[in-house]
Each structure stands twice: as structure tokens, then as C-alpha cells.
Amino acid sequence: MISDGALALDPLVVGVIVAMTLVTVLTKLGGFWLLRRIEVSERLEAGLSVLPGAIVIAILGPELAAGGPAEWSAAGVVVLVMWRTENILLSLCGGIGAVVLFRALG
């Protein structure tokens, strides 16, 4: 621990960050390391290729289900802006603006 406040480094927190770093490095390096050594069937590859989107949906589903009409409508705004512009920053600003607006109305 250095000090309290902005520069504080709690040993447990640093430990969690180190563990997060290790598992992330494992995923970043592991796929390349593993797949150059084993032959992956097309079937398995097809399964693996849906993982990123499926995980995004798995995070999003319960998160949105716990929200209300304001969050659902704002999510719709993000989809619309993203679909039309493919601009992440614009979509985020639109979504956050929309959720603030819809919450104020609701």
C-alpha cells in the first residue's frame, strides 16, 4: 500500500489484477499456441466461432431483462445508430443520451 486515495494500491486488488492479467494473456496467446499444434475439426471451429457473439448476448440478456422500457428503448437506439453509422462513439453517445431522456420521461 502506497497511501490512501488516488494512488492507493491494495495488495488484494493488485493480486486480482495480476490474476486477471494472467488469464487474459492465456487467452491471447493460448489460441495461437494450441491451434498450431492440434488439428481442429470444422465442426468444433464452427462452434468456437459463435462464442464471441454468444458471450456478448449472454452478458447483455440478463442485463437488459433487469432493466425497463427506458433501457430497452435506449438499446434500440444503440442498435439503430450502430447499424446506420457503424460508429461506436456515436452509438454510445446516442444510447446514453436516450437512456437519460427516457428515464426523465418515464
Binding site: 486488488v13 470444422e42 468456437l48 464471441p52 457473439g53 440478463p62 435506449a74 446514453i96
Partner: protein, 262 residues
């Protein structure tokens, strides 16, 4: 962020079956680039850095959001910055600080980080045909700074027949600088801002993932696995304690896809 075209389901599975030398996730176009010697030099790093800079500035938007969320979750500016500098995985970090609580759910945070980042193993593998032509130090070193955005840019660059092996590293350096810098800004400002719901900051995570989902949508083939992931996650979130629903949703979708594949 740009289209994550490397993970597209329309990747031609049939064409590389006859070429085991191309690697398991070989791409037909990689064979064309096979002839050219791959480079790893300052010019490649520079080209990657400059190409990625506008996108990296956009990533800074997430960085500011992450810094604010981290500060609100109770992390110090130093801890938030350390996490951004070493983990370098936007979605996982934002999810992790959402899980931050007293006492710290260490196992849940680390396992969820693993689950959210499992996609990196696929993305790294997709770069395999080019990376395996570099030295281990160059390829594994570049993979350390791989994130969604610079992976997509690198995929595009290398598929177009480029031989700049250092492109991933250059784009990654741009992402790293903006990500860490933005975290410091967000974490510093985050201590000042009051109720996050008033500014819609609590919606940032959902908005980020909605935008990501739009980018990952690949048409009709995506519908079934996503519905499976959605239903599994919602049911599991209600029945299973912790954040296991994320991993369960992803695995259920992958399993169904493996069974469905023909």
C-alpha cells in the same frame, strides 16, 4: 471499431481442408500471401500505429467509461490504471468492475474475465497463418497487445495481401496508449461525478455490448446460437448464483452450433 470479419461464419471451411500445412484455421487468401516474405520492422509498427490511431481514440471513449466505473466500484486511480495497462481487455475489465464488491468475489472475477476473453484465443488463432511466419518473440509479443479493434484492422491488412508482420504490434501500441491514458482521465474524473444513473453512466456497459452485438451479427446463421445463448443466460442468471450464466450461455450456443454443423 470495425467489422470483425475474421470471425465470420462464411469463412470458407471447405477450401483449406486439403492444405493442412496452412494451419488449422488457414484462410484461402493466406496461401496467396505465403509467397511474399513477411517483415517485422519499424515501418510496419508505424503503419499499424497510424492506421489504428483514429480508432484508438474511439477506444478512449470506453477507457474513460471504464475509469469512471472503476472509480465508482472503489478502485483507486492507480489500481484502475494498472488494470488497463496489464489486462488490456475492455469488455472484460468493464464486466470485472461491475462485479467488484465487498468482500471481493475473486474467483468470479477471474473466471468471468477468462470467459469474456476466451474469444481472444479464437482471434489469435485466426491470425495464425501470418504469426507463425514470425519468430516466437515477435508473434507472442504482438498478441499481448491484441484487442478487438486492432485485431480486426490487422485481419483486414493481412488478408489484403500485406506482408507487414509488425502491423498487429503497431495497432496494439496505439490502442494501449489511448486505453491507459483514457483510464487515467476517467478514473480521475470519476471520483468527482455524483450519481451515475443521472448521467446514464450505468448504461455504458449495456450500450457497449449492444454495439458489439451489432458488429458481431452475421445474418441468419447467427440467430439460432444467439437465441440459445440468450435463453440459457436468462434462465441461468435466475437459477445459478454468481456470473456463471455468461459462460453457460456461451458454451450452450457453441455446443448447439457444433451439433448443428453439417
Amino acid at each position: 471499431m470495425t467489422k470483425l470479419d475474421g470471425s465470420n461464419a462464411d469463412r470458407t471451411h471447405s477450401e483449406h481442408t486439403g492444405e493442412p500445412s496452412d494451419g488449422p484455421v488457414g484462410d484461402p487468401q493466406a496461401t496467396a500471401a505465403e509467397g511474399k516474405p513477411i517483415t517485422f520492422d519499424r515501418e510496419g509498427i508505424r503503419a499499424g500505429f497510424l492506421t489504428c490511431l483514429p480508432i484508438a481514440l474511439g477506444v478512449g471513449g470506453y477507457g474513460v467509461a471504464f475509469g469512471m466505473l472503476a472509480r465508482r466500484a472503489g478502485l483507486s486511480v492507480a489500481e484502475a490504471t494498472l488494470m488497463s495497462a496489464t489486462v488490456i481487455a475492455g469488455a472484460a475489465q468493464i464486466v470485472a468492475v461491475e462485479l467488484w464488491a465487498e468482500p471481493l468475489p475473486v474467483a468470479t472475477i477471474v473466471l468471468t474475465t477468462l470467459a469474456v476473453n476466451l474469444r481472444y484465443s479464437l482471434m489469435g488463432a485466426a491470425l495464425g497463418p501470418w504469426l507463425e511466419r514470425l519468430s516466437p518473440r515477435q508473434s507472442y509479443g504482438s498478441l499481448l497487445v491484441m484487442a478487438d479493434e486492432n485485431w480486426a484492422l490487422t485481419m483486414r491488412e493481412l488478408k489484403s495481401g500485406s506482408n507487414r508482420g509488425a502491423f498487429l504490434l503497431g495497432t496494439g501500441i496505439a490502442i494501449w496508449c489511448c486505453w491507459v491514458g483514457a483510464t487515467i482521465i476517467g478514473a480521475t474524473a470519476g471520483g468527482v461525478i455524483g450519481d451515475p444513473a443521472r448521467y446514464g453512466i450505468d448504461f455504458v456497459l449495456a450500450a457497449v455490448f449492444v454495439a458489439l452485438a451489432v458488429e458481431l451479427w452475421e445474418g441468419h446463421s447467427t440467430l439460432v446460437p444467439w437465441l440459445v445463448a440468450l435463453v440459457t443466460a436468462i434462465v441461468a442468471a435466475a437459477l445459478v448464483p454468481g456470473e456463471w450464466y455468461i459462460l453457460l450461455g456461451g458454451l450452450a450456443a457453441a455446443t448447439v452450433e457444433v451439433i448443428r454443423h453439417d
